[in-house]
Symmetry: C2
């Protein structure tokens, strides 16, 4: 069997997900299994690397139990950053600094777990490596709850966020039925430009749940008057109406619905604009124009860190893309991202492949218009068929004293 | 063995919990096992009963699998109400109506699952029964996430809410560590007058988590300037500060912190006051006065309906108090509520007993001052020792097609 020579550097970048550490484990374990000497983890992505902040991962992952715990640990284990590299140019100090550190550490393989922006980093580093004829391989490992990376069938992180969203949407729909009162609940779901996560609320629908009554995605212009009319109509036959909206829905003129409350003049006493959020604004408008009880629920940060309920398909694939990146790099691939290819619909089977990162970086994949119904207020069956396999099965959290146990960095890497 | 004669009526009232249906199952199964002919469930509590809205529960719970599903189903299966009975008086129409229906259905035992207000209903109905010399027994079954019922060691529903709060607090603390930036996260937890739920955030603390940095309960006056000073101090040594506050924290003059944003003049264009919530207000003040990144996260409705992560201790006790109510009623007890008595601390053992509902109804149990530290910004170890046993162990959801399965009423009882 081929063996890896030299060392590995791995980092995490952009927003976290519930399974981002499963990809880290995939890189770490595969590299170790293939003979890598040291697997370094950069702290806070390339930003930390620039300040020579990194750890030897074997000091922090010391057993198979640690590996299992790390898979179940939400939020980037190594910390993250939002750092945009400049265009690569020979002589550029930032690139010189990064490559100096990598060479000093005898790093031959570099892995970056992230989304669009992180792939831009892989693109630039691999371009720079080519310019200076460095043999270091740079591979991207896909990750984002937003599912907006191009070429890959979907992104690790999305399935667990979708499972969480669908699960709590079911619970909230039930909660809405408790009182014998007319009410409208607006749930706000992450996704500024792509409606993949908001669409996932549709999965709540099943034998034991009607699902949300409408779903609005940022891919379709939002019409306020039509919206109120539709709510009014639903209320004629339903006591409890539940509507999912993406945080990024916009009016025809391009303004975010989330901004409307602000534009209408809401300010605190110090003149700070109050951003109400799309759901809060819509909920208030419903109370005002229809006169019924209405509440807004923001699904907030937990969409990206609820590791207490993850999809096993997702966490497994997150591991696989990490491992596949290592194998590809060992075979000399660079400037590429690992992608998932769905080779069978039923039964669902996905395999990994690699793809030129230049064609992926900075591109946002949106929900195709034909996966949204004509009225623009729900996703189609095709959409549901696409997402449903990604939320299947569970990975039981390791519970200690009543709570899910996580793995933490051994030293106080989180202090100041 | 003694057998129950006649029929049973059971209802759910007030805010739901993740385990309220386990108590319903406890009443149903125990009554059936003890020979009750028909167990009726009133729809939307006494309010529904007044309109003769009820179901024969055996038509909706048809198998042992249904029983297990119902235990795992969040939110009141039978619907709920917030209905205050008038003072009982012979000749009062409301009481006449209720007793006419109960007699028509040959109901001998009446169970009401709820909190303070619901116990007021049991008190009045049992008083009225005594006035008219009815032999129907009225028993209260405790339930509330708020844990504010007196006499009982704790209330079913609280443990699961506490487990959910502690679990997601851990996840949010990790999420706050992702970026290499100073930030303050304020989490807002339910509990308008009692801080039991906010205090439960302390349980996040453990070998793998520092826990929140401060916790503010409604039992202690909140001082805005002191708060800002404390945050400033924490920031000197910590990158990510996480603070839990009860929605009900108040200033010395009695005003809710949640109202302050409003009082300072925030209004939308239509002159409606905007209630910001305590966390949003504090987060904004931190940004303004300290100048660092700050975010507010409201734990919202899921605190009372997150059945995907419940405490097994809690769901078991919820079942037990339902069953104990049936046994007590069969032995002729009336006008009482089932209570939990902690007979051993270590190992934790609770047993059931009954107590005069007149001394429980309308009383709010608060967190004792000596279970809050002197500075008023955290709970003590005693508090943690009290709550920790209540969040132990899990009850695995029954997952179907990737999502937790629930039991629903067979007919369209939820339509209009």
């Amino acid at each position: 069997m081929m063996k890896m020579s030299g060392n590995v550097m791995v980092g995490q970048s952009g927003g976290p997900t519930a399974v981002i550490n499963s990809s880290l484990v995939g890189v770490y374990k595969t590299a170790k299994d293939l003979g890598a000497s040291i697997v370094y983890g950069m702290l806070n992505g390339v930003q930390g690397l620039l300040n020579e902040r990194y750890v030897d991962l074997s000091e922090h992952i010391q057993s198979d139990l640690d590996i299992e715990l790390l898979k179940r640990t939400p939020s980037s284990f190594l910390g993250s950053c939002r750092f945009k590299l400049p265009e690569p140019e020979i002589g550029n100090q930032i690139f010189q600094q990064i490559f100096k550190t990598l060479e000093k550490l005898d790093v031959r393989y570099f892995f970056y777990i992230g989304g669009n922006d992180s792939m831009d980093t892989i693109k630039k580093l691999s371009d720079y490596a080519e310019m200076i004829q460095s043999s270091i391989c740079f591979m991207g490992v896909p990750k984002t709850i937003d599912n907006d990376l191009d070429i890959t069938d979907h992104t690790p992180g999305f399935g667990s966020a979708a499972k969480y969203i669908a699960s709590i949407t079911k619970e909230i729909i039930r909660d809405g039925l408790v009182y014998d009162l007319d009410s409208v609940t607006i749930i706000e779901i992450m996704g500024r430009n792509a409606g993949w996560l908001a669409g996932a609320a549709a999965l709540a629908k099943g034998e034991d749940c009607e699902g949300p009554d409408m779903i609005f995605l940022p891919e379709v212009e939002f019409d306020m008057d039509q919206f109120i009319e539709k709510v009014r109509k639903l209320q004629e036959t339903k006591r409890s109406v539940v509507i999912a909206v993406s945080e990024g829905i916009r009016l025809a003129d391009g303004r975010y619905v989330a901004e409307l409350g602000t534009e209408l003049g809401a300010e605190d006493a110090f003149g700070h604009k109050i951003l109400t959020g799309a759901a809060t604004y819509l909920s208030r408008e419903i109370s005002r124009r229809i006169g019924c009880k209405s509440r807004a629920i923001e699904f907030n940060t937990l969409q990206r860190c609820a590791s207490h309920i993850v999809s096993r398909v997702d966490i497994t694939e997150a591991f696989q893309v990490g491992g596949a990146a290592v194998k590809a790099a060992m075979e000399g691939e660079t400037g590429k991202m690992v992608i998932l290819k769905r080779v069978s619909e039923d039964p669902y089977i996905c395999v990994t492949d690699t793809f030129d990162v230049h064609k992926i970086a900075n591109v946002e994949k949106k929900v195709p218009r034909n996966w949204i119904n004509e009225a623009g207020d729900f996703v189609t069956e095709e959409f549901e068929h696409y997402v449903r396999p990604l939320i299947q099965a569970e990975l039981t959290p390791m519970m200690v004293d009543g709570l899910p146990r996580h793995l933490t960095l051994k030293d106080k890497a989180h202090g100041k």
